[in-house]
Symmetry: C2
């Protein structure tokens, strides 16, 4: 039942042409008459010819580079998880003759992003993967990629440009909604604290904004009388955090529910550990090692994780597929599952 794969040689034989000409047709190279072109195309369609990618790769020896633009990170931070996926993806792409190069930038310094973009272009990439932090600068960069005909894939967040090859990320609004539903355990809640991080945001695209919206909407729908409190902490001054929290929760003794929309729920664990009697119900985001630790120790009730490794791995794999095989991704916008992690299932992620 398994018919032998048809090859270029078969097509050459059936058309009475040589494999050189067939090759020219396959690659739309010039120097072939309309008649021959049509004949070859017909036979190709008839036999359902598909080139042997590995033979092709072998013959070409073309070097391709995918450049990945990511924020710099300290060990244990969110972007480290993404990097893991990058490495995995790079690994499996390498035997398809695709190298992966990372260029990083400071996500709080717009100038470093500009520099990173230049560096990326200097590498003459065949494709780019990027996590867009600065809206306007990204638009400029993406424009350049377009004119150069370089395909690119968004991860984490995307901009509403219409040229990207694919996007891999989390449904941010829904993740906030989910967060609230878990925090409330689908019951009525009366007072909720949203702990936030104050930062200058010059046009940054930020998933936490959508998350908060989803969160607030759920609460509004299910517990219309609930009062939502905002509390800001500064991760750069870790020593002040506990005091800030102590003060706030002393003023609001009725609050039992705490949510945080960025990946740094671990910042409040030292406070939580001091108040076991309050039995806070706490939901945060992302499976950082520090968060998992807090989860297992029972200080955090639940984490919502978004598989940043998968995002990165699949982004690279989709881009590689496109570059090597010419396959368009089966869907352009790909939303990763929102994993609910508790102390009892965390270690299997």
């Amino acid at each position: 039942m398994e018919t032998k794969k048809t090859t270029i040689k078969d097509i050459a034989r059936l058309t009475g042409l040589s494999k050189g000409t067939v090759d020219r047709v396959l690659h739309n190279r010039e120097g072939v008459s309309k008649k021959s072109y049509a004949k070859v195309m017909e036979v190709i369609k008839d036999l359902g010819y598909e080139p042997n990618v590995y033979a092709s790769l072998l013959a070409q020896k073309k070097e391709r580079v995918i450049v990945v633009l990511l924020p710099k990170y300290e060990p244990g931070e969110f972007w480290e998880l993404t990097e893991e996926g990058i490495i995995e993806g790079a690994d499996s792409s390498s035997n398809l003759g695709v190298k992966v190069a990372k260029v990083d930038y400071d996500q709080y310094d717009i100038e470093s992003f500009r520099t990173a973009c230049s560096k990326a272009l200097a590498l003459e990439p065949s494709g780019v993967v990027l996590a867009p932090m600065f809206r306007n600068e990204t638009l400029v960069f993406v424009d350049k990629l377009n004119t150069l005909g370089i395909p690119f894939v968004y991860i984490d967040t995307k901009l509403e440009t219409n040229s990207y090859l694919a996007y891999f990320g989390m449904p941010t609004y829904q993740s906030g909604y989910l967060c609230a539903s878990i925090l409330a355990d689908e019951q009525q809640v009366d007072e909720v604290a949203m702990i936030r991080i104050q930062r200058d945001k010059f046009g940054k695209s930020d998933p936490t904004i959508n998350r908060r919206e989803g969160f607030i909407d759920y609460i509004a729908e299910h517990s219309p009388d609930c009062s939502l409190h905002n509390l800001f902490i500064d991760p750069n001054k870790p020593k002040e955090i506990d005091a800030t929290l102590e003060k706030f929760f002393a003023e609001h003794p009725g609050i039992r529910y705490i949510a945080m929309f960025n990946s740094r729920i671990y910042l409040i664990t030292s406070f939580l550990a001091k108040h076991p009697e309050k039995n806070y119900r706490v939901v945060g985001f992302d499976n950082l090692a520090a968060n998992i630790k807090a989860l297992k120790s029972g200080l955090v009730t639940c984490l919502i994780a978004q598989r940043p490794e998968d995002q990165a791995r699949r982004a690279i794999s989709a881009l590689t597929d496109y570059l090597v095989f010419g396959h368009e991704p089966s869907s352009r916008d790909n939303f990763m599952p929102m994993d609910i992690l508790t102390r009892y299932n965390a270690e299997y992620y």
Copy 2:
């Protein structure tokens, strides 16, 4: 920085031998002197030579077959999810020259399993993936595979043989434990119903047994005074189920918590729909379409899913890796994450 990949030709040149001889060494074929063998091995180690798999594949044109032994299923049943992963895996293995053939059997008919095993062997597989249902028969089959030198991978459940290449499945005990923790929402519970399916089990390996153990242990640890009720229903007589449930819950009006350890929580949704006033808290397993529907409609509180597609896909991929590249799997026992699905995140799985 990126040194050119070393090839057989390089090794031949450096050892002063021909690539034919190098090839003999690489494949442990006979007809090469100890001296030459040692010389080649040394250079290989020095240069960190890795063969170009695609060139090798191209030259060999060897046909390999992976046989997958799975229970038959009706549309919408658990094993359909596994099959999806099989198809995916088969797809990506096919461009490495590995075909995948499925052989199915009736999981309630031991004789059909024997037949399936014979069929599988008749296909002269290079590797086998199997979900073992019948303990003794599987041991016999696995023994045969061993003597034939055919590697195999367990999915779903495994037997404690010491010869399997890898295992992909769920941590069943922990999944029961997790199930209880979610059902109780880490609170005290007083009465819980475990709905079960009665079946002849002649030595079948069955994940639901471990799940129940994990479940019972959690309850015993956290709610020692809780009474656990067993209730049996028969999926072959769907019309009787509702009556059975009505009777049971009428006799036990205090029960609010319901768990089920197989994939068929959907069987009780018609009952649940009739008693919204009881506000049952219900936890089941596996993301069957019917279960997801029940989840989204709010009849089921939560599902614990085990990614059967991933199990299958990764099993095939690991086996392919081993057959083609000679890579041993990085870990032998691979436990999939236990995904917690609620109505708010289900659609992203």
